[in-house]
């Protein structure tokens, strides 16, 4: 450990830009990015599952509002959604007097809300597609066994729909990681924000942005391999015999 530390200090000693100080900015930025992406994905997922089930409902007054929500959030740039929420919350009547204001005046939470609503819309459509693709025979079999709708949803449709949705959901996770770069636009010091700060301070665009690009690349590959591993485990029954 001592040796590693000494080696590290020496490596950084004749580097004007990547000092321990600036690396600290990147580290903080990594923390912000991971927190933002992870939280929005988890909350978005929790929202998306019931929405996806309701999206397939036969009742129009349930189906259409959800369709409208996903259509709007998937059809407009995330940047606009972020601006709307970031600048918009201030103008909600009387919000500055409530306890909510303590939370919302920090840029992190408007960004979290925008990202969550965005990813929930995409995830809803992914799951809706996966649910719709359930083989008819499975549903008929469940009905023949006398399962109620809820039981059928829980035991038959959802488990297989989750598996079918996995590859598309992996893409959505990577998309969210990349989309989170715009958080830096509303003053959040995420990874991109740290890179912008280092660029502005040293006027060294290549160092600042190539370094952060490499970090994003590593994160992307980590997510990619995680989902490949999950797919291999969960979709093993779909593999061809001599694959």
């Amino acid at each position: 450990m001592e040796q590693l530390n000494a080696w590290f200090t020496e490596l950084l000693s004749d580097n004007a830009i990547f000092t321990a100080n600036t690396l600290g900015y990147y580290l903080d930025g990594l923390g912000s990015t991971v927190r933002l992406v992870f939280l929005s994905l988890v909350i978005g997922l929790v929202l998306a599952v019931p929405l996806a089930i309701a999206r397939g409902s036969r009742r129009k007054w349930i189906k259409w509002p959800i369709f409208f929500y996903t259509y709007v959030f998937r059809g407009t740039p995330l940047l606009i959604q972020l601006y709307l929420i970031y600048y918009g919350v201030v103008f909600i009547e009387g919000i500055q007097d409530t306890f909510l204001w303590a939370i919302l005046k920090d840029a992190f939470y408007p960004a979290l809300i925008a990202f969550t609503l965005n990813t929930a819309a995409y995830t809803t459509e992914i799951f809706h597609g996966a649910i719709k693709a359930t083989p008819r025979g499975e549903i008929e079999a469940a009905r023949a066994y006398g399962m109620s709708r809820a039981l059928m949803m829980r035991r038959i449709i959802m488990p297989s729909a989750f598996r079918r949705a996995l590859p598309a959901y992996g893409n959505e996770v990577i998309f969210m990681l990349h989309a989170s770069a715009i958080a830096s636009v509303v003053t959040i010091m995420d990874l991109t924000g740290a890179a912008r700060f280092v660029y502005a301070r040293f006027y060294a665009p290549f160092d600042a942005f190539l370094f952060v690009a490499a970090i994003y690349l590593c994160l992307t590959f980590a997510i990619l391999y995680l989902f490949r591993y999950l797919e291999k485990k969960l979709l093993a029954h779909l593999k061809p015999l001599n694959g």
């Binding site: 059809g75 606009i80 600048y87 665009p205 290549f206």
Partner: protein, 238 residues
């Protein structure tokens, strides 16, 4: 009618800038995509490697980071090359990397990688017997591409291309961050000046939805064109 407080004409100009960036980067992306796909399908290992490296790297990094790299770093890089040309060969040229070029080139490069994957899959989906038949008729490679390979490839590529275009359209919003006056930037400026975020952001969102709806219709028309002879069978897959 809603009162845009005098920002109406500027927002309209911004919408035109958005469309320009989107269409120009689409053209660049389609060209790069075709090149990448043919490089990936070529038997030469070097082309294959370069194309794979390109698609992997580009798709692993956020678009905004690439755009800033090109916008902030591009001028320095170009200056280094032109300086070198001046000292070595006495050629005096000046290339200015502005927001517009940086935006179009970055978005074109990013979506070139995605288009490349779409085209590659579509080329592979064309029955090789069709190409052999063309060869048996004595067609040249170019004629085979134009008359047999391309039209059939497009049938498989169109759904993917349509999706990529929708994502590309939304990505153009990022050019506002590096300072190009597209409609998002003008709406953001208007918001800061008037403190009316909903008044400006919602019309802009509606314009995006409108462009998306129109392009959906165009893609559907094109799909009908390229699906001639395949009946309704394909609609089951969508």
């Amino acid at each position: 009618m809603i009162d845009l407080q005098g920002y109406g004409p500027r927002l309209l100009e911004g919408a035109l800038v958005t469309l320009e960036v989107a269409v120009l980067s689409l053209l660049l992306a389609l060209t790069l995509g075709l090149l990448t796909a043919s490089a990936k399908l070529s038997r030469h290992w070097l082309f294959h490697r370069i194309a794979t490296l390109y698609t992997t790297l580009i798709r692993g990094v956020p678009d905004l980071v690439l755009m800033m790299l090109l916008f902030f770093g591009g001028q320095i890089g170009v200056n280094m090359i032109t300086d070198w040309l001046y000292y070595e060969f006495d050629v005096d040229i000046f290339i200015n990397i502005n927001e517009f070029i940086a935006g179009v080139v970055t978005i074109g490069f990013i979506f070139g990688a995605y288009m490349g994957e779409t085209f590659r899959g579509a080329f592979l989906a064309v029955d090789s017997g069709q190409l052999e038949a063309g060869r048996a008729y004595g067609m040249s490679n170019r004629l085979i591409f134009r008359r047999i390979q391309f039209p059939q490839m497009m049938r498989h590529a169109l759904p993917g291309l349509g999706n990529n275009w929708m994502v590309l359209l939304k990505t153009t919003a990022l050019v506002s961050v590096i300072g190009l006056s597209d409609m998002v930037r003008i709406a953001a400026e208007a918001t800061k000046a008037t403190h009316e975020p909903f008044l400006f952001m919602i019309p802009v969102a509606v314009v995006y939805l409108l462009i998306a709806s129109v392009s959906e219709w165009i893609v559907a028309r094109l799909q009908k064109h390229y699906n001639v002879g395949f009946g309704e069978a394909d609609e089951w897959n969508n």
